[in-house]
């Protein structure tokens, strides 16, 4: 059976829902498929805030400059300009939809300091800004039942034929049924792929599905080697402790009690950009100035119980529950963990990919506004600004596009492949292969990247891909077969890991979050360019794309 919509959005986090809402407002028929209920999306886990130069004393230009500098000059400046100019109207629009933000005493939107920002421009909702925005947007989308949301459907295939996108084949979790979703335009907004790593702040469902499907269908992936490690995560669980904690005045200290960030970033100190702070923490611990458990401490005690317990309510609960630490009276042990993929499906500032009819937005996409390192509180902003743009343009495309040719043959092809997978009698379980992939990436493709490790990682990922050909699904049920789902997801993770390590090995410079121990300097002459990866039988084929520079010429970056 096949269903059809003018525009089909895959993913129902902030980017996906914003795209759906915009396409609907543009007057086309919209469907959304999501493997989770929209309110369970990983957007809801974002903590610290959303940037917008709303204060009259702030300026959009400063926001652009901070973002470009934070990106280590790899961001496309035309795309950053759109992001920052749309920031104010976007935040106001979300407020009018019902989002509950923190307020200053005069009733206006309160702002906090954030990493790499020259002005306090981060609008927030305690330390659950993602949840607040997700609720606001979901409530708005829910106003009109005509936006059809297919909950708990996994996208399994993206169908591209006759030089354009035709739709998606997806599987429903509760029944196991496989159906085709014909569409004139498809927007991929499936969010992060952090589960390529084991030590990640990302949710278990963050498996980069849409990104991998687009790649397999021939879309370019851009800058995948740039992986952000968030400086402050709880040990063991890698649960995120928001940058907002330092925005509110939190301080990092090593075991000797030193405020070590003064040495690494004399001006911005604890609020330097994330790549800088993560490297500082790794260096402190490696050089013996960490605590015995291999962490440094994030201190909030001096901020007072009242402020800590209200403005940082969630992370206080996390520290108490998951680390047995009370931040009101003691330092929180923290260490960097994978947090964000700067790379993703390559799009232009209209949200278009290289495949006609295929659009992408949010963390699954790479416009690029974050370049080699994303500034905190710019990702929530990107989901909404570029989700809207992608939704609008997908709708315009759909208005003149011919009907999709997706049909039963496409559904049968996917069904056959899935059946083959489920009927396989023996082999390795997905959990085992996934664990090996994650430890490979944790150990070999981290904050500092050694050439030998990267070569080793390329080999290991290739071996895992080989073994994956024999992956075994032990669960044979048609109802909520998560074993099957994780086997499919693992295929996505492996494809993306291959692109990450290939790109990282090829890029012989250090820029933003990508730091090569053998090439410790940024090399603008050779590497001021985006990596593009396209799938071939032999693996990812890399080409390069110039960076769009409008106003800010690259210069040395210091915080």
């Amino acid at each position: 059976m096949t269903l059809s919509h003018d525009v089909l959005v895959v993913g129902a986090g902030l980017a996906g829902q914003r795209a759906a809402l915009q396409a609907f407002r543009a007057g086309v028929d919209v469907g959304v498929i999501s493997k989770l209920h929209p309110l369970r999306s990983h957007s809801g886990a974002a903590q610290g805030g959303i940037n917008a130069a709303l204060d009259p004393k702030d300026s959009v230009h400063d926001h652009i400059y901070d973002t470009v500098k934070g990106s280590d000059y790899l961001a496309d400046q035309d795309a950053v300009e759109v992001l920052c100019k749309e920031a104010g109207p976007t935040v106001i629009e979300m407020e009018h939809m019902g989002t509950i933000f923190n307020r200053a005493p005069d009733g206006s939107l309160d702002r906090r300091a954030f990493g790499g920002a020259s002005y306090n421009r981060t609008i927030y909702s305690a330390d659950r800004t993602g949840l607040a925005l997700l609720q606001g947007l979901y409530e708005e989308v829910g106003r009109d039942p005509k936006i059809h949301i297919y909950e708990e459907w996994d996208a399994v295939d993206l169908v591209v034929r006759d030089g354009r996108v035709q739709g998606v084949v997806a599987m429903e979790r509760k029944s196991g049924k496989i159906e085709g979703f014909g569409a004139k335009a498809v927007v991929i907004a499936t969010g992060p792929a952090g589960r390529v790593y084991g030590k990640t702040t990302n949710s278990h469902e963050s498996t980069g599905d849409g990104c991998a499907l687009a790649y397999r269908a021939g879309a370019y992936l851009k800058d995948m080697e740039f992986v952000q490690f968030h400086p402050t995560c709880l040990p063991h669980t890698s649960i995120l402790i928001t940058e907002g904690a330092r925005g509110e005045g939190g301080i990092l200290r090593n075991a000797k009690g030193e405020r070590f960030m003064e040495r690494y970033a004399p001006h911005f100190k604890d609020l330097a950009s994330r790549d800088v702070v993560s490297r500082a923490i790794v260096t402190e611990v490696k050089e013996g100035r960490g605590f015995p458990d291999g962490t440094v401490h994030l201190e909030l005690m001096h901020l007072g119980k009242e402020k800590v317990e209200t403005k940082l309510q969630e992370i206080v609960a996390y520290a108490r529950t998951f680390a047995g630490i009370d931040p009101v009276v003691e330092g929180i042990p923290v260490y960097p963990a994978q947090h964000y993929m700067m790379g993703g499906i390559s799009t232009n500032p209209k949200g278009e990919t290289n495949i006609p009819g295929l659009y992408a937005a949010g963390e699954a996409a790479c416009v690029s506004v974050h370049g080699a390192n994303r500034l905190g509180a710019n990702s929530l902003l990107e989901t909404l600004v570029y989700g809207k743009i992608a939704g609008q343009n997908a709708a315009e495309y759909a208005k003149t596009a011919a009907a999709s040719t997706l049909g039963q043959t496409d559904v049968d092809a996917t069904t056959g492949r899935i059946h083959q997978l489920v009927e396989r009698k023996e082999g390795e379980l997905p959990a085992k292969l996934r664990a090996e992939l994650q430890s490979t990436m944790d150990e070999l493709v981290g904050v500092y990247r050694h050439p030998d490790d990267l070569i080793n990682a390329v080999t290991r990922v290739a071996q895992l891909k080989e073994r994956y050909q024999n992956v075994h699904v032990a669960d044979k049920s048609s109802i909520f077969n998560l074993n099957l789902v994780e086997a499919i997801e693992l295929g996505h993770l492996l494809d993306l890991a291959e692109v990450i390590v290939t790109g990282a090995l090829a890029r012989t410079e250090s820029r933003g979050a990508h730091v090569r121990t053998d090439y410790p300097k940024r090399d603008d002459a050779k590497w001021l360019k985006h990596t593009l990866a396209q799938i071939t039988k032999e693996g990812p084929s890399l080409t390069y794309l110039p960076v769009t520079i409008t106003e800010y010429q690259p210069k040395e970056r210091a915080y």
Partner: protein, 331 residues
């Protein structure tokens, strides 16, 4: 590390008889119960069906019953259960929602109730929000949301609620807490309509057992917000609404005589005609020794009345009025 027995209610979702299955898991006491479930899936039985995602108490996926109580297993630690339950953690799917398979339930009834309250801002077209600017909110206005913005829709409260199962009209703790959030929102213009929309069983079936308060991992305290809604409903539409009349009647009853007078209460709640329909119940009450005669006032009634007087002091009434400052301004 210690050995813990996970006793899990399995259900194939295809009509097979649900049964408990034991898994022995090596796990630390300070680890989340969810971690053990993931270990079971990864190392012992990949067919165990369970929803989970963020593992940090924000996505709301992993609510289930742990040793009989509705819990979010990602933030419930192993040690909190094993100490009191002989190293055993019994895990069953949430209540009040049909089971799809193992620990996965069909949340349709939960989301239907959520949608019933119109969970979005309803604006007054004659009084639009400030154009191109945020609406201003005073700290008092923000305070009125209480902890409702923390709700992650995990349905722990819904699973714990005994009233949800007894009447399909009752909206349940999550939907009512969400309704409260919109009712007090200074931007929302449907204050009266929202309170009109929750008459009778929809709101008043809550008996304040507080199980939702205990179950909520985010301290939203749904029962307290339901009390707030009842209070607002009494003020706004009290005289015309049975639930309100019942609660006001109860209050007056005690104030006047110190004891509950069922006959008078029934008359206050239902009116004389309404009482005619309850004649059978009147006989039942008499059979069970409930006198329908008027009680004499209790001794020390003046002390009861002093409590009433104290509660009605102006400084206590403050905060029990209509939400402060409905409507917003731009600058």
């Amino acid at each position: 590390m210690t050995q813990v027995t996970y006793q899990i209610l399995r259900n194939d979702g295809k009509g097979g008889v649900p049964h408990f299955q034991n898994f022995v898991v090596e796990i630390g006491e300070t680890e989340a119960i969810l971690t053990g479930l993931i270990k079971i899936r990864n190392e012992q039985d990949p067919t165990l069906a369970v929803r989970y995602s963020c593992r940090q108490e924000i996505c709301g996926s992993c609510a289930m019953r742990v040793n009989g109580k509705s819990r979010l297993v990602c933030s419930r630690l192993v040690g909190t259960e094993t100490k009191t339950h002989n190293n055993t953690i019994r895990i069953e799917p949430m209540a009040n929602q049909p089971v799809l398979r193992d620990l996965v339930v069909d949340q349709t009834p939960f989301w239907d109730r959520y949608r019933h309250i119109r969970p979005h801002l309803i604006l007054d077209p004659a009084n639009p929000l400030p154009q191109g600017k945020e609406s201003r909110m005073t700290p008092e206005q923000v305070d009125q949301f209480r902890e409702t913005p923390r709700c992650i829709a995990c349905a722990s409260c819904y699973s714990a609620c005994p009233a949800v199962g007894s009447d399909p009209d009752f909206l349940g703790p999550m939907a009512l807490a969400k309704l409260y959030r919109f009712t007090v929102d200074p931007r929302d213009a449907a204050y009266h309509e929202r309170l009109e929309g929750i008459q009778n069983q929809k709101l008043w079936l809550c008996l304040r057992c507080n199980l939702c308060v205990e179950a909520c991992p985010k301290d939203v305290r749904p029962a307290e917000r339901i009390v707030d809604l009842k209070r607002l409903a009494n003020q706004e539409i009290g005289k015309r609404e049975r639930g309100s009349k019942h609660s006001i009647g109860f209050l007056n009853n005690i104030e006047q005589g110190g004891l509950l007078n069922e006959t008078k209460l029934a008359r206050d709640s239902l009116g004389l005609f309404g009482m005619l329909g309850q004649v059978g119940k009147g006989f039942q009450m008499m059979r069970h020794g409930k006198s329908l005669k008027k009680h004499p006032p209790i001794q020390g009634l003046s002390e009861v009345q002093a409590i009433y007087a104290d509660l009605n002091k102006p400084e206590d009434i403050k905060g029990r009025e209509r939400p402060v400052g409905k409507g917003v301004k731009g600058e």
